[in-house]
Amino acid sequence: MIGLLVRSAWVQLSRDRAAQVLSFIVPIVFFSVFAVIFGGGTTVDRTSRLRVPVVDESRTERSQALIRALEADSALRVNVVVPPDARGPGRAGEPFTRALAEEWVRRGNAAVALVLPVGIEWSIMSFAQGERVPAILLSDPSDPVASRLVGGLLQRAALRVAASGGADLQLGPGSPAERMMPVPFEEERVLGRKRQSPMIAFYAAGIAVMFIMFAAAGAGGALIEETESGTLERVLTSGLGMNGLLLAKWLSLTSFACAQIVVMFMWGMVAFRLPLLAHLPGFAVMTVTTAAAAAAFGLVLATLSRTRQQLSGLANLLVLGLNAIGGSMFPRFLMSETLQQISLVGFNAWALDGYLKVFWREAPLAALAPQVGALLGFTALFLFLARRFARRWETA
């Protein structure tokens, strides 16, 4: 009897596609996503590609030797002038100034920038008593690894300069251990100087976006229940067309999603001092456009699925998958550039970028244009798809 029940359970599983997707496909997708992020399986290790704008205020032979040593480091992509392929501020070929480098970090084009101030030439491999001029690392603290990595590689570069005879070793008597650094540096945070917990905005946005996707998919499932209960047929018989019905569903889902995000950020404001009130216009723009896209996404899933089980499997697969690569679980800026580019196929990555611009980079509203445009584009695409899939409910 027990064997019979076990066999029956396996037979039922073999016929339940949603359960199969949840049991086998979703874990594989997740495993693959995180293997790519952390294992560097299909992409080059992120550190080999870390972009570092370098400002050479010293303009001496030693500072240039240091820059050459940094350029030779396979872990870094050093730019002393604005590269032609970059989308950051400044003209291509324009030498980086401290202000320009700071702007690059502020806008998220680089996680860290290096400034070699006047006098740095006397600090390289100089351990004598007296004031040493430090290099400055302009950093975005949302990526705490980048500044420490560059700080360490800066030391290696200085040692290489010394090894190649580009610096004289001046070792004073009784130097304390902290003075033994090949080149001293100080970290200067470009962003989030006043914040107690700089990552709160990131996590508030990440969690909110992930859960409005789940909620929109679930609420969109009401369409399936209404089909089964006959309510949808009754509504359509009343003369309200499919366009009107989908519009009503989309508007209601959008308003639900807006309410969810507002509640999430208000909780962040009350419990974690998230500066919501200081960023209301940007928050409003991002919330409305993100909610609109998530609602349309939910409609696509609901119109595509024939049963609740199908919807559940599809929603879990897509929502968790998109959020894994889209940055809700692990910041996109810590992923490889390839994966960052791939993740832009999901609207949620654009939404998170937009929220980060508002709360982290304190960008003006106009700077949200790419994210808002992308979200509106996704919304239009999703609504188009939902309308196509909804044909099956129309007049036969």
């Binding site: 089964e228 209960s229 006959g230 509504v235 007049t395 036969a396």
Partner: protein
């Protein structure tokens, strides 16, 4: 003038012919029963009348106007077989929602909602969520949501399925009220005794066609079952049925079909007596809708 007239309706879904030249007419104020086995085409027909199925050919005319699929049908009310209600809305909210969808607003909506709550006997449950309702209460509310806007023609798809006899009586009382108000009703049901007792005329549909239409007497004639069935229970088993009788399994029961009860029944009883048999019980009845239905549509299972 016919309230509803279907002419030569044809509709196929891939290789399946759901409607195959079906025609019927519903007169003003009439309660017309639409009977047929599962898969006969009843639901497709109801959906075509409601504008939810586009016919391959043929026409649907309401109140003398031929209507295309998808065209608004303001004078039509549809009561689906499922309880098509929002379970997390109250009875009143459901009525208001479907009332608005059917064009009611303001004072008129309030008046009709109040009427519907009284009509369904749900006035004291107006604020209760529908999910807490019994099957019979949902059925009544389902009916009310379909007729709230006072349609002149109401399509009812199995309006009494799954409810107890008391609720069924109440629903037919409600339908009677609608007819008194001037509405014409087209009703599908599998409860043949209900159709027999309640409908003025009946259309039997099979394989996408109307195979018979008329009053019960007309259907009986059409099916060739116009005689009276005589059934005798004997005091003992008969070795062989006397002339004019047949035996259907039990040798102590004899049956015969006669056309004139007064002229033919005494002769039948005399033959039984002459065979040395005694009669314990005698039943004379006309053909039922059940027998007519089976005669017209056969006994084979359709699904």
């Amino acid at each position: 003038m016919a309230v509803l007239e279907i002419r030569d309706a044809r509709k196929s879904f891939f290789a399946t012919r759901a409607l195959d030249g079906l025609s019927l007419a519903l007169r003003e104020g009439e309660l017309l029963g639409l009977l047929g086995p599962n898969g006969a085409g009843k639901t497709t027909l109801i959906r075509a009348i409601a504008g939810r199925v586009r016919l391959d050919s043929g026409t649907v005319a309401l109140f003398g106007h031929t209507l295309a699929a998808g065209a608004r049908r303001a004078d039509l009310g549809v009561v689906p077989q499922e309880n098509a209600l929002y379970p997390l809305l109250t009875a009143r909210e459901n009525l208001e929602t479907f009332g608005r969808l059917n064009g009611l607003e303001g004072k008129r909506l309030r008046e009709r909602t109040a009427w519907a709550l009284e009509w369904t006997g749900l006035a004291d449950r107006a604020r209760t969520l529908v999910r807490a309702f019994s099957g019979g209460m949902k059925r009544r509310l389902n009916l009310a949501c379909g007729v709230l806007h006072e349609p002149r023609l109401v399509l009812l798809d199995e309006p009494t399925v799954g409810v107890d006899p008391q609720s069924r009586e109440k629903i037919y009382d409600m339908l009677g009220g609608l007819r008194q108000g001037g509405a014409s009703l087209l009703l599908t049901t599998h409860y043949l005794e209900e159709a027999e007792a309640r409908c003025e005329r009946i259309v039997v549909v099979d394989h996408g066609r109307a195979v018979a239409a008329g009053t019960l007497a007309e259907l009986v004639d059409h099916a060739g079952l116009s005689g009276r069935l005589v059934r005798l229970r004997l005091d003992r088993a008969a070795a062989a049925p006397p002339a004019g009788f047949r035996s259907e399994g039990d040798p102590a029961v004899l049956t015969a079909t006669i056309r004139d009860v007064g002229a033919e029944l005494p002769g039948l009883l005399a033959r039984v007596r002459d065979a040395g048999l005694g009669v314990r019980d005698l039943e004379v009845r006309s053909a039922s809708l059940q027998s007519v239905f089976l005669q017209l549509t056969g006994r084979d299972l359709r699904e």
